[in-house]
């Protein structure tokens, strides 16, 4: 598997290990939607630092992954978009709105803490 998914407390950390095919990107969506239920996860980080290319397909797929996970009760933060990929996306005119992004894994976890705290307050 080219994506390592680790459980870390209430969160799932999905680290993409290498460039992914479209099929693998779609598989990640199903797997995360399942695992959110298995581990009762409140948040997901998808670390895309190893992705060489974020094109129109990957952009759409990430949006779909995040929306699917949200319907399963988890927030998602995308982490680690490389400088070159960021430049390519801007020139292409791709954007990940309204997804949440963070510089790296640590920042993504901080962002998730904030997002999931909001959920608890709603419940209280």
């Amino acid at each position: 598997m080219s994506v390592a998914i680790l459980k870390q407390g209430d969160y799932l950390i999905a680290s993409i290990q290498s460039d992914l095919s479209d099929t693998e990107v779609n598989a990640l969506r199903h797997e995360l939607a399942e695992l959110v239920g298995v581990h009762r996860s409140r948040g997901i980080v998808i670390d895309v630092a190893a992705l060489d290319v974020i094109d129109s397909f990957v952009t759409r797929a990430l949006r779909a992954i995040v929306l699917t996970a949200r319907l399963r009760g988890a927030h998602t933060v995308i982490a680690g978009i490389s400088p070159d990929v960021a430049i390519a996306m801007v020139q292409f005119r791709l954007n990940l709105e309204p997804l949440r992004v963070a510089l790296d894994l640590d920042e993504a976890v901080v962002a998730l803490d904030r997002l999931t705290r909001g959920d608890h307050e709603d419940e209280g």
Binding site: D19, D22, D84, I87
Partner: protein, 147 residues
Amino acid sequence: MKGEVRLAISTDADLVAARAQGRAMAQQLGFPRPDPTLIATAISEIARNIVMHAGTGEIVLRPFEEHDRYGLEVVAIDAGPGIRDVEAALRDDYSARGGLGLGLPGARRLMDGFQLHSDAAGTTVTMTKWRYRDELARARAERRRRA
């Protein structure tokens, strides 16, 4: 520059290989960052167009060198049904088969040259990116010309 590389495209694994090859070739040619990523992203889009719309096709990576510049030509060839409205396919809002509208205009913005030819016999996309060998010398010459 030495030889071109021809890559058969029919699966999404071929697409991954094509963009990796394109990136590697751009780096070998001396393209500075972020150009190899821009080239790989454009290749990804036109290779996916082949897989989605034609089923099979070919990507040709062709390095070129001229006296003051070097570059990479990327040609995507398929014998698929063709694109009925080429103008529309290059517009940002065009949406065919699952909203692929972004692909071609996006790829065009990443490259320096972009040509699309499509008829009943198939589709050929030719994209180029180039760099002047000595950007600084070129800028100076430009300034002298204008002075």
